[in-house]
């Protein structure tokens, strides 16, 4: 019974993906129609300058946003798990959790309105304001990523006994040394997982990016979305196959790394 449900569910999840991968190697011009084995769509992808430009922009935004998200989200998670009570704690927790539950269209629209107000203020004060584009997308994605990293880090720290840090402090280690030698190593797997999560979210987002971007910033998902609205092309299958291969390899590598030095849980 259980097995049947599991197999059916996984089959449903994977059927379109397996077909997509299979037909990425089909020579036929019509997607999802078999025309013999061929790598022509991978070659077409490699020659598609617009697609490559958008992919390069997306990768840079995702890497930047994930890095910012890990820095700020790591701090946020630590504050939620380890910082004692302080004024405004309830507000802090509410704000840190908000991006997780706000619908994408609301996040996108509200961030755009903020950027417009900031641009207006810069215009009034300096007579000049930066355009919306890669920078505003990066700030928006870092904010969403921050919330996800904070959840992962908070859960990791909550599962760890604070006694380890207290023992180090009792033995005379100054606060920064305690953080560097005990807390940070404990947080490290959560920070790594959080970075990957924030990176994937950024690389997959079309709604928030469409709202906050300007004329100059077209990310890969924005380009793919506009193409899908017109019609399906086999190149998109080739692109998805490449993405899956790269992420599967990255996950495999991360899994092997983590297995190598698994920290014992208290």
């Amino acid at each position: 019974m259980r097995r049947v449900g599991l197999v059916l569910g996984l089959g449903f999840l994977w059927l379109p993906i397996l077909l997509l991968i299979g037909y990425a190697f089909s020579a036929d011009r019509i997607p999802f129609q078999w025309g013999g084995f061929s790598l022509r769509w991978f070659a077409a992808l490699a020659a598609n300058a617009r697609m490559l430009d958008a992919a390069w922009l997306s990768l840079r935004i995702a890497a930047g946003a994930a890095t910012l998200a890990v820095l700020l989200g790591g701090m946020t998670g630590w504050v939620l798990a380890r910082h004692g009570p302080f004024r405004g704690r309830a507000l802090f927790g509410l704000l840190a959790g908000a991006p997780l539950v706000l619908p994408e269209v609301v996040t996108g629209l509200s961030l755009l309105l903020l950027f417009v107000v900031l641009q207006g203020a810069a215009e009034a004060a300096l007579g000049w304001s930066p355009d919306r584009g890669a920078l505003t997308i990066l700030l928006a994605h870092a904010t969403v990523g921050l919330a996800y990293v904070a959840v992962v880090v908070q859960a990791r720290l909550a599962g760890m006994d604070a006694a380890l840090e207290e023992a180090a402090a009792d033995l005379g280690a100054p606060p920064f040394t305690v953080f560097r030698t005990v807390t940070l190593p404990l947080m490290a797997p959560a920070l790594g997982a959080g970075w990957l999560l924030a990176f994937t979210l950024s690389l997959d987002d079309v709604v928030v990016a469409s709202f906050v971007s300007g004329p100059a910033g077209t990310t890969l998902p924005m380009l793919v979305f506009s193409q899908l609205r017109i019609g399906l092309t086999p190149e998109i299958n080739a692109l998805a196959t490449m993405l899956l291969a790269v992420t599967a390899l990255a996950l495999l590598g991360a899994g092997l790394l983590l297995r190598g030095r698994n920290t014992p849980r208290s």
Binding site: G9, F12, Y23, L102, L113, G159, D161, A163, L232
Partner: protein, 303 residues
Amino acid sequence: MRRALVLLPPFLWLLLLVAAPVVILLGIAVSEGAPGVPPFTPAISLQDGWRGTAQNLLTLAQDGYYAAALLRSVLVAGVTATLCLLLAYPMALGIAAAGERWRVLLLALVLLPFCTGFLPRLGAWIGLLRDGGWVNGVLIALGVTTEPLPLLYSDGAMYLGMVHAYLPFAVLPLAATLLRRDMSVEEAAADLGASPWVVFRSVTLPLSLPGAAAAFLLVFIPAAGEFVIPELLGPPEALLVGRALWGEFFQNRDWPLAAALAVALLALLIVPIRVFQGLDEGGSRRGASPPARGPGERPGMSK
């Protein structure tokens, strides 16, 4: 205090990029539209004071078009979340029952579809469901139909895409709850002569309810504002709040009305969101975290 150095950067960031945008959104929702860049007259300004209007919110309440969009979004989100829950429950039971090695692999199989990217997966559904597509080919070969069925751009295609995209969100909290459950209660019930079905109905199912509620809401909340899936797979005229908001913003350039729609969507979602956050806190409090110690106490050595 050095701890403030850790607290301050994220707090300022959250105030600027989470709190301020929502406040501005509320402000624009009660502003008047005006030609120009940006296309509205601020509700509050230093020169003119308060110039707000409730017109946008009134429009939403009075114009049946927007009320219908909001209502239909809630319905679509509810149906999607229910379907996801029904599909996810047996999957989560199977994952929870598997050995540790298998469990990691199965969880990876549930999560890995995320990595192909959300849009190419929708593209795959377009390719499978269109008139000359795979599904119609199979149906014709089986003799179910002679003419290709209009499967794409329908409510069915939209639900298929929604369930496919959101199913992993439902599986994960359910599997986590089922994994944490105390198996000895089920064994006791079985020892006392309960049939497997009775054990499931009277022990497993009630124990998993918090996870099921989390799974439902984790799908329901984002699905209510979904834009991309109905746009790519649904019928062109399907009226949903995400699409209405997108249209007001990008096509009609009516920013105040788009903001008012966003505020209305938030108002509808505030109760599910609070319930979800309550479940979440309950879950982490029940988790493995030891009670926080006061700074003056000696660390216990009883481990």
